[in-house]
Point group: D2
Chain length 348, copies 4
């Protein structure tokens, strides 16, 4: 059960609710929201009667929650969440499809600028690129670190693109959040709770990728950690799961999109680059992702994929990305989705 | 090895190639193409020397085939296979999307007719319905048997729909092929080689469903069994694979569509009903299937899903099927696909 | 619910029970047993009162069954089933470990005899060898067919070993059951219900292998098909399941042994050869299988694995099999299991 | 390639090797070992000639490494690694089986002492218990934190047991390494590279659990991160992987034990508690783990499982743990393994 307090509820009123919960032998979880406080109840063996709390001072309502997650659930919030990115009012989760594109890793200022130039020209508004790269091997390129973040900031200044980049641990987040418009939590960190708690205390939106073998409940529960800390600006992302199938690097589970939409108010994107691991599968799966109802895509684009330091085999050539933008826009229109106005249109 | 004939090669020249292959103790598979004939060779223990054939009259070239499957491979036949169903020239694998719809099982003449009436009215040309049902439990409804086949034949006569129905073993196939326009081999029988060999000797096209944990190679190799027996009219079908994910009954692996298209000339459909096991996921995944490039869909539609004897929870209501037809047609148009003219249009 | 009739119940009494069930709107499943008839009830939305049936003439008792499977369940039969193989009273599922060994396929009389000689000398009593081989590729060796069965019969005559061999379809079963002591149903046929029904009508015991992605419920349900047809002599076999893991060909799921033991009275063996697909993993996993509580093993042994026509890389050398017999016997002793007396001991 | 320096090699000699590698356009990775320095080479497109380095001053030998991991590989170190825990010379990976037991989480001083008393009495020398618990839900008990660590230190003082406990992020590790004898990295953190690097700089041995969907290569590569930072005292642990199978919480992959033993010199334990998630499966799988060749076990034991705050359903009762100790000791003896002398024996 979730006891939702009135916006004007006093600390004493909140404390009284918590004490009543504890007196009943259960645990109280005060959850500060943007507008008002809510108090979650756990440990109750069965459903509680809302009237136990609805008569108390400061209480707006008491809601039964049947799922293990609460704040991410449509039971708590029925309408779709709109996640605002950057200062210009770009929204993820609304009518417009959010297309995030760029190289796997920032390798140099030149590479980043060439990628950004093509991404922006194709009409995208969000730029991805890793400065800190979690790599399976300690001997692989681990990213440029802070130098990469500085290049990303230059990309934003020069091309007007918003920056999505990965943060890999709580201390690292102190640095990354100074540069990023969206903090990305990678699949391998989906259950790194220290990191989830840290980005949950950030003011920046979070792009949370599904873990390689995460169930839907675990995925939503990971998001719950972030909301629970007070950051309601979470964008989910399906990026393929691990199965026996060997014709793609991962198996892109597009059914999770309508499944998330049914249970949660959070927006969800699809990453067809990691989801397939093969360049020639990215475009068809990008079309399918928009057709299934995703709120957007995150795609790897490299000015010269064959010379990329990481993930080159799954990065699109710039011309392929233009084709992707055009085809997904056409499919989006059928579902009533539009594209953001391009940066150049804004400048004009 | 594949011996590719010149476009102007005579029947005698082709026969001479076949006879040489047989004289060497191998099997010859003449495969007519749009422009020219090719002759596949199987049974050879190791690679053959192309010069054995390249000097023969009418031979353009002899090509070594590197995949474990041969006849289904694009190495043997580059252009897409067009599978003709029924007498009226309906083609699967061409420009038109093939939508197969109907109830999981034929339960009664009334139920079948009511389903067929709605399927036909929505514009589909192919009707599905099981007379012999492989069921996990011996205590579940196993289908009406031959009575079900007779009802299906009546549906064809009454509504002009072509009939797709499952055959479950070689002996049963003797019966089913008398009624069906397309013989369906279910996922649980994908590696039932006795059945594959039997449908490979049928004159009727075969719809081969991917096994629950079949790799792409195994899937194509199962089709190879059918072609190897002489039946080149094989339609593949992705219907979801088994993974840890529990938000759908199976995980629909849409990436297999472009993967099949790259390796094989055979058409491939998608079954979003079994692929998700949940009614409210069928429409979004059907859209995605068309967007990813599938040649069509096979979908469960029941006049009264809540009273279905099997799979009711994943069967569409007739109105939902109409919506599916309309949305997938719109997405298909973007990819240059059309729908078959409806039966009623033909009658008019 | 299962209504168990008295051994002397008349046909009329049985019919009366069935009619009562149907009159209640449910379905009746008469199940003839060795001693007596039982009538299963399905279609009932909730539990029924046993007293509804226990007062009827000819009824011994009415048992609530909570699982989807009935006849294989410990709810129906609490004590372990003992499956008798051959005429000499060899028992699978009792105190003695059943070790079945031999080559993947019978390749020649010489190969079979050399394998059998070593298998028998190492102390095993059951010989495996395929005459009909379900192979992923139509171009792979498919077995010697009836000639292979004749060789197996010679092996039995010459070495006193009992014969376990695979049957691949209902018609084929007519032939195989003339030669085999145990009919093997392979993993790819676990849900080939036509075959399950056919072996269910055989007098020979059946070794049923778990399908590559079968859940425990599906595995037990496949066995239920066989028992339902009247053949209660079913031996289950775990042979590895399909997962993402790539260090073995399949992932041997040893936890299914205690899970089966808890739910079912049927014996269960382990196949560490297919379960790992690698010769050097067979011995450690064979030890583990006995330690976890399996009733025995089925293992591939070839006189010259490097020259085998199939599965050579996972076949043991004869000396390795002797080591396996010795180590598993030692582990078995700790759990109170013994080995069968060797054939030679019997002869002496 | 790995260039192994002589124990007496000077810093200048090492620098010369690194400079030569860089001059060739590759990357040099100096890896300090216990006795001597080695320099790994990455970035080379093909194999290098050992003679390029073997003539240089201070170089012992240059070894070609064919695997993506180097330091954990038997190619680098053939003999088994012995990991020393605590001051009393307890060794993991030698002849003796390492049994680690205790509750999932430390809940109170009383609970910990009662568990420890039974664990020690049963003959185990290593005590497990979580002070910081990574939990799927933010609403679940997250551990007592530092208070839990203090209780663990008391357990060590009172019962002479060595302490194995989890660390969840790099900052947290500063605290945990003050209390723990072995630092545990949980399955969900197996690819948390910031944490791997941090424990790689610790003086304490590390117990690294396999991720839920980690391949063998990824598992070894995660260990490589730790060794690469200089900590060679790594103990691997199989704890079940995620598959479609639903009769256990995870599927315990015992074949990974011989697979690790073949490729790596590191010791490996098995966790049958998380590996099955069901109390009644722990004992059979523990026996199997020892039989397959594991170097020990980590098992959940709780004085009152039914009142545990986490994982109670998979925790053994103390009497069951005594049975486990006795049965696994018997199986170990067959393989030439012994148990550590019990604490009490040492005291005597």
């Amino acid at each position: 059960m979730l006891v939702v307090m009135k916006p004007a509820a006093s600390e004493e009123e909140i404390r009284a609710v918590c004490e009543k919960i504890q007196a009943m032998g259960f645990r109280a979880h005060p959850m500060p929201g943007a507008q008002r406080m809510a108090v979650g109840i756990t440990g109750n063996p069965g459903p509680l009667d809302p009237e136990l709390f609805e008569g108390m001072a400061g209480v707006a309502e008491a809601i039964r929650v049947s799922k293990p997650y609460k704040l991410v659930s449509r039971e708590i919030r029925d309408e779709d969440s709109l996640v605002r990115v950057g200062d210009a009012g770009l929204v993820v989760g609304g009518k417009e499809l959010a297309i995030i594109a760029g190289p796997c890793a920032i390798e140099s200022r030149d590479q980043a600028f060439r990628a950004a130039e093509r991404v922006e020209r194709a009409g995208a508004r969000l730029f991805r690129g890793g400065a800190f790269k979690p790599r399976t091997s300690p001997y692989s390129f681990q990213g440029l670190g802070e130098e990469g973040l500085e290049i990303l900031a230059e990309v934003r200044g020069r091309f007007g693109l918003l920056i999505v980049t990965e943060t890999i641990d709580p201390v690292n987040c102190d640095l990354v959040e100074q540069y990023a418009d969206v903090l990305q939590v990678g699949a391998r960190n989906m259950q790194n709770y220290s990191l989830l708690k840290r980005v949950g205390r950030s003011k920046k939106p979070v792009l949370l990728k599904r873990g390689m073998s995460a169930t839907l409940d675990e995925f939503l529960m990971a998001a719950e950690y972030i909301l629970f800390e007070g950051n309601y600006n979470v964008i989910l992302c399906e990026r393929g799961v691990r199965t026996f199938a060997d014709h793609t690097r991962n198996t892109l589970d597009l059914s999770v999109i309508p499944a998330v939409k049914k249970l949660s108010h959070l927006p969800i994107l699809v990453d067809p680059s990691h989801g397939t691991g093969k360049r020639d599968k990215v475009l068809p799966l990008a079309r399918a992702a928009v057709a299934v109802g995703a709120d957007g895509l995150i795609v790897e684009v490299h000015p010269e994929p064959d010379r990329a330091l990481s993930d080159g085999y799954q990065s699109l050539y710039p011309e392929q990305f233009e084709e992707l933008m055009s085809e997904t826009a056409a499919i989006g229109r059928i579902l009533g989705r539009t594209m953001y106005p391009a940066v150049t249109a804004l400048k004009g």
